[in-house]
């Protein structure tokens, strides 16, 4: 799959929001692959969805990015066990999105990949002190950015009390809204 995309003039390793890792979806995916590459470049534009893959809602929450941070959107399912990231957006139907947010999947929350199930599929994530398991295709619709950028930016207080990282950025978000 990557090979094909490189042929079309995209740099290897480019990550887009909607692309599943495997070719499980077969013909349908292939069809979309042929139509895909002309618009969607999430690295440049943020989490923009150019079309709907599976009757999912197109609603993407507008999350303001902290100023001065290079935006590197990637996908939750691509993280390895033991890696941390900051949640950016949930590209899921609204009801699921709402449910997940009430379970702690809110923008700017820190998420840790805890373990994979023995069969390798549902992955357990640690978020807000809770262990929550998601299947690959759900994690695929969740975009994240690397952790380091926020840690570097946040104040010293954040280092002594990790939970305030999340609160600070949540406040920041609230201020940005006003």
């Amino acid at each position: 799959m990557n090979q094909k995309r490189a042929d079309l003039g995209f740099p290897a390793g480019l990550k887009s929001v909607q692309e599943p890792d495997s070719q499980r979806r077969g013909l349908r995916m292939l069809f979309h692959q042929l139509r895909r590459p002309l618009i969607c470049n999430s690295d440049r534009f943020g989490p923009i969805l150019n079309y709907d893959l599976s009757s999912r809602s197109l609603r993407v929450l507008p999350f303001s990015s902290p100023a001065g941070v290079v935006r590197q959107v990637s996908i939750l399912s691509q993280l390895k066990v033991g890696e941390r990231a900051i949640l950016v957006a949930l590209n899921l139907p609204e009801s699921v999105q709402n449910h997940l947010m009430h379970m702690g999947f809110v923008p700017d929350a820190e998420i840790l990949v805890l373990r994979r199930a023995p069969a390798g599929d549902p992955t357990v994530y640690l978020i807000d002190g809770m262990e929550i398991a998601l299947r690959h295709e759900t994690a695929e619709a969740i975009s994240v950015r690397p952790c380091e950028s926020v840690v570097a930016q946040s104040s010293d207080a954040a280092k002594t009390n990790p939970s305030s990282v999340e609160e600070d950025s949540a406040l920041q978000l609230a201020e940005a809204r006003r």
Binding site: V96, N98, H99, H102, G104, A119, D121, R135, E166
Partner: protein, 636 residues
Amino acid sequence: MSACCDTPAFIPPPPRSPSALRTVVLIGPPNSGKSTLFNRLTGLRQKVANYPGVTVEQRMGLMAGVGRPDLTLIDLPGIYSLTPYSEDARVSIDVLRGRMPGTPKPDAVIIVLDSQHLTRQLMLAAPVLAVGLPTLVLLNMSDLMESRGGHIDPLQLARELGAPVARISATHGTGLDAVSLFLNQPGNGTGAPPLTLPVLGNAASAHTWAAQVSRRTGYQAPLSVEGTRKIDNILLHRIWGPLLFLMVVIGVFEVVFSIGQPMSDGFGDLLARGADLIRPFLPAGWIQSLLLDGAWKGISSVLVFLPQILLLFLFIGILEDSGYLARAALIADRVMRTTGLNGKAFIPLLSAYACAVPAIMATRTIENKRDRMATILVTPFMTCSARLPVYMLLIAAFIPNTVFLHGFLGLRTIVMLSLYLAGFVGAMTTAWLLKSSILKSSETPFILELPQYRMPTLRSLGMRLVDRGGVFMRQAGTVILSVTLALWVLAHIPPIHLGNNSWAPPELADSMIGRLGHFIEPAIAPLGFNWKIGIGLLSSVLAREVMVSTMGTLYGADPDTQAMHLQTALHHDMTLGGALALMIFFAFAMQCTSTMAVVRRETNSWKWPAVQFLYMLALAYGAAFLVNHITMMFLG
């Protein structure tokens, strides 16, 4: 317990007449301990366990536990928000808003939050407070929070929320005087809900608000427990995880056989001796025959399995209370995915090993309607505890007690495991058929919360055993008693007139029951069953364990087999092929009126239980036919 829990923090109450208070609801996120608190406050024994989604419907009780039997307390399924996403959440929201027919409108609300994850749990508090009823906020498991270095200022939180706040521990019953105080002065905090409550329905702003509140109240989340992760490193290990799961299952059945069987035999001897003790006090003749050879024999043939069933429930209880059940669902998700079902469906399916009725109720936690329907339809395939007496009886009668692997694995255990596996495979295949045809749907995301491991308390395990034992005894005293009495009567009419005003019971084969049995015999003969088994099958439509009592009564009524032990009598009367066929028939057939009733209730039509009954009957018949003929082929 600790000093933390005995000083409830209150905002000075505005005066209000307490007479207005009649109904109080318990609301909170899943697995925050609402039902444990409900049991404390009412003195009832509602089922509690350590996984989200144990309670799936509203339960009412009088608050006798805190000396207020004039008040009704309603326990609700856990919710994350006031936007319904599944059937059980809809129930909670409707009751809270007073829109549930048959349930009184609540006058006051008690919010139960798990203080170990307060920031997230406060997100629910905002919309509930905004409903405008007098509200008490309880921070449950505060003993756990404090022992792990967490901290909260309840007084400040009360000021922020505009409602009284108290720290409690529902498991240990500490801090509950706050509830009585609140009930005496329910007007607390209704004066002015804080203006800062976030806009409803917007999860992002709700979280911002919750984070602000928890910061202002000096909330410090407890250190995460390393214990749970260390246990999971083994139990969810790529290789050890599934292996340990298998070993636990084998171990459970080995124990049920090796320890449970002698217990059952002892219990059976005790029951038989009891009958001998009573015999001289009863007038000889038909009364003695009806009570001792009919009713007592039938009931005691089922009751002897009580020790083994209780052992099985003890293990299920340990699995549910420790928090392993959610992990099992995680391990099984891969299998469930191939059938098209959600991994979440595995939790109701696992609890169906105890009984299908609560399992079908538990499917309310499945968000997708079609997934839920498919799960309801396959649940009766799971080997419930009512099949256990039938399996036990037949295995003890027909399967030799050979052991392999230096006594670690017995042949009987293997047969038992294969029967459990047969039920599971039946369920999965049917689920796949349903999901790839009439119940096809787009996949709903699998979102599962893994609770922390907890040590099961003896109190809760003991309560489960008492409850289950009670259910089993009640079944024996009602359904089984009436069926055995009816059978005895049918086995004794029409009486033969011997002349001179004396009557004798007919030959069993000539009695009503014998004629009925012989009438249906052609239908079941290909499966290797005789007419007595046929009668057993007919009566077991009421409940599976009735089969055993029917056999007990029928063989007890037959003079040829009267003196024999039930196992010997069966062995005398059946081939190995017939016995294996009978076991597989029970693995697949839906013989349980309570299950049919609950399926009707949950699906709102008789169509589904009828379809389910016929499908499972056809499958059971076909499988039993095959097993009988294959066994005959091999054994000549």
